[in-house]
Each structure stands twice: as C-alpha cells, then as structure tokens.
C-alpha cells in the first residue's frame, strides 16, 4: 500500500481497514490478520498498526478476543453508523471546498445534480462504446 507521508500513518491504516469493511473484503465477524502480518502486508511499523487497531477497538468497530485476535464487530448498527460517518466526512470536504468558492447551498446542490447527470451520461457512453 502507498502512503501519503503528510498524513499520520495510523490514520491511513484505519481508513484502509474501514474501506475493506465497506467493500465487504472484511465482513462482520471476520478475523483480522495478526498485527505483524498486517504490518508486513502494509509495509508499516508494528507499533503503528497496534495504535490503529487500538483506536478501532475503542470505537467499537473491532473486538479484541484475548488470545484469539481481533475481529470485525458483528454489530450491524455500528457498521451502518461507520458508513454514515465516512460518507459525511467526504461530503464535508466537498461542501467546504465548494463553499470556499463562494457557492451558495442552492448552487452547490444544483452543481452536484448537474455533475451526477453528466457523469451518468459519460459512464453510459463508455459502456456502449
């Protein structure tokens, strides 16, 4: 995995694991690889992996079972919550950047609708090509 050196690595590891969960590569109840294996797979420090997993355990996304390892929570509600949180974080970024361009809320909504419509057409074209 390629990391952005400007962003704390533990934060990027968390985001990587969140995405694995959102795409279904990691399902509720799945066991995570051992800490050192994760560190080797991602080419990062063992301590950094431990910090990322520790925070995810505190957040209730992962469950640590003594002597067995770390598991994705079976709490579907918590996963839905996480998905909402990730979506909100992305929207917040887009919203703030568009606001910084002096767009009103109405203009932001209109622009987004226009973008999605255009994007849909473009993707359809690509499929028919």
């Amino acid at each position: 995995m390629k990391f952005d050196d400007k962003v704390p690595i533990y934060y990027q590891i968390k985001n990587y694991l969140y995405h694995e969960m959102m795409t279904g590569a990691l399902k509720p109840g799945d066991k995570l690889p051992a800490v050192r294996q994760l560190a080797v797979d991602l080419t990062v420090n063992v301590n950094t992996v431990q910090r990322a997993l520790g925070e995810m355990i505190t957040e209730g996304i992962l469950e640590s079972q003594r002597g067995k390892g770390n598991f994705v929570t079976m709490d579907e509600q918590r996963i839905t919550q996480l998905k909402e949180q990730l979506v909100m974080e992305q929207l917040e970024r887009v919203y703030e950047q568009l606001h910084a361009l002096n767009l009103t809320d109405e203009q932001i909504i209109a622009s987004l609708k226009q973008y999605i419509a255009q994007r849909g057409q473009r993707d359809d074209q690509r499929v028919s090509d």
Partner: protein
C-alpha cells in the same frame, strides 16, 4: 516503558575537531528510530560510540549498563565485513558469527537467507553492492539483540532489494528490541519509523515521533527534515 539507550552529555573530538558536543539522547524499547543527517554529520560516529568502538566523554548506558566493553553483547551492528578476505564464502562468515555471538540464531539466519534470496555458497568478493548489503542485514538480524544499529543499509542499492530489506526488518525485529536506522534519504523508510532523530550542528537537533510531525506540521518526514536545513541557511 524502559530505556534501551541513555546518552548523557556525550562529547567526541577527532584530531582537535569537535564532531559531537553535549549529546543527550534517550531511546525506549520496542521502537524503530530513523537517525537522519547529512553525510559527515556524525551518524556513524554516534553509532560507533554507542557500540563502544569509539570513545568520547560523557556516559552511554545500553540496557542500563554504562560499561562500554559490555555494549557489544546487547547490540547487533551492521558491520561491513572488511575483516574477511574476498574469497570467504558467506556460509563461512555465518559460521564465524555463530561462534563469536552466543545470541546468533541459526534458524533465524536460514529464514532470512531464504527471504532475502541469498546464495550462501557465494564468495564475498563476488557480491554486488545490493547483495552484500542483504548479507549484512541477514547477519545483523539473525542475532537476538536488544538494540540493532543499521548504518545506511539502503545506500546505493536497487529498489527491489530495498523493499525486501524493509520487509525483513518488520518481520524479524524482536518486539521489545529497538532498531536505529541511519540514512540521509528518508522517504522510503518513513512509513516504518516510530521516531526520527536528526543529527545536525554537532548534536541532536530534533527527536520526535513521526506521526506527531505529520499531525503537528501537516508535512511528511522528508519535508520536515529538509525544512530544518532550509531554516539554517543564512540569507544575507
């Protein structure tokens, strides 16, 4: 958390020239630390002082022991194998290590040799720079030490070998051991560093956790390192 290394007021002069002055440095167990600085800043000198190969004033305690002659038993240091003749086979060198260092683990060495794709029947004189560096890393990591000192393990080697060496560090560094890796080119090892120590102006110019640098300044380790040098440039 306990300290694997505690340096107090260390000063080292060579031919009346001060190389390091009043250095204080403490490292905790279980960390990977990047020792950064320009060529000639004193990184190798600092490592030689820690192992006890060079002598300065001040105190250096390794695992709480400040007797310099005891340090080598706690420390595994990347030696450049200059003491061996070019026609010595790698497995002969490994046998020598096995005899000299009681903590040399033959099983670990075998695993490292396989992982780093080293042919131990080759002679030292026939090795490319990258292959020789991999041999040095295998010998160094095969010891079960508390402190590992890797002096510029990535200089002048191809990116595939570099990736293998980085993976072997993550795989084989004992959990409680601390590893110091010196380099003047940081970007490739930045993701594996817990902390960075920057040697500049005859001393430790900065000592910070890597993720704290990213959080505090919003910049990468390399950019941070370079910024310390830019600040030092006189504009007159």
């Amino acid at each position: 958390m306990t300290n694997v290394l505690a340096i107090n007021q260390l000063t080292y002069k060579h031919n009346l020239k001060t190389i390091l002055k009043d250095v204080d440095l403490t490292l905790e167990t279980g960390k990977i630390v990047g020792l950064l600085g320009e060529n000639g800043a004193g990184k190798t000198t600092l490592m030689r002082l820690i192992t006890g190969s060079a002598k300065g004033s001040g105190t250096i305690a390794v695992c709480g022991d400040s007797v310099a002659t005891h340090h080598k038993s706690h420390i595994s240091f990347t030696e450049q194998l200059r003491g061996f003749k070019p026609n010595t086979r790698i497995d002969r060198v490994a046998n020598f290590y096995r005899t000299v260092y009681p903590d040399f683990d033959g099983q670990r060495f075998e695993e490292l040799i396989t992982f780093l794709q080293i042919d131990t029947s080759l002679k030292l004189g026939a090795l490319s720079k990258g292959m020789k560096e991999k041999v040095v890393i295998a010998l160094t990591l095969a010891r079960q030490a508390q402190l590992y000192l890797l002096d510029e393990p990535f200089s002048g080697i191809d990116s595939m070998s570099r990736k293998r060496i980085i993976s072997s560090i993550i795989k084989w560094k004992p959990e409680d051991a601390t590893m110091v890796i010196s380099d003047h080119y940081v970007s490739e090892i930045a993701p594996i560093l817990d902390e960075v120590v920057i040697v500049k102006d005859q001393g430790i110019y900065a000592h910070k956790p890597s993720d704290a640098i990213r959080e505090e300044f919003g910049i990468g380790i390399e950019a941070y390192y370079e910024s310390l040098y830019e600040r030092g440039v006189k504009h007159d």
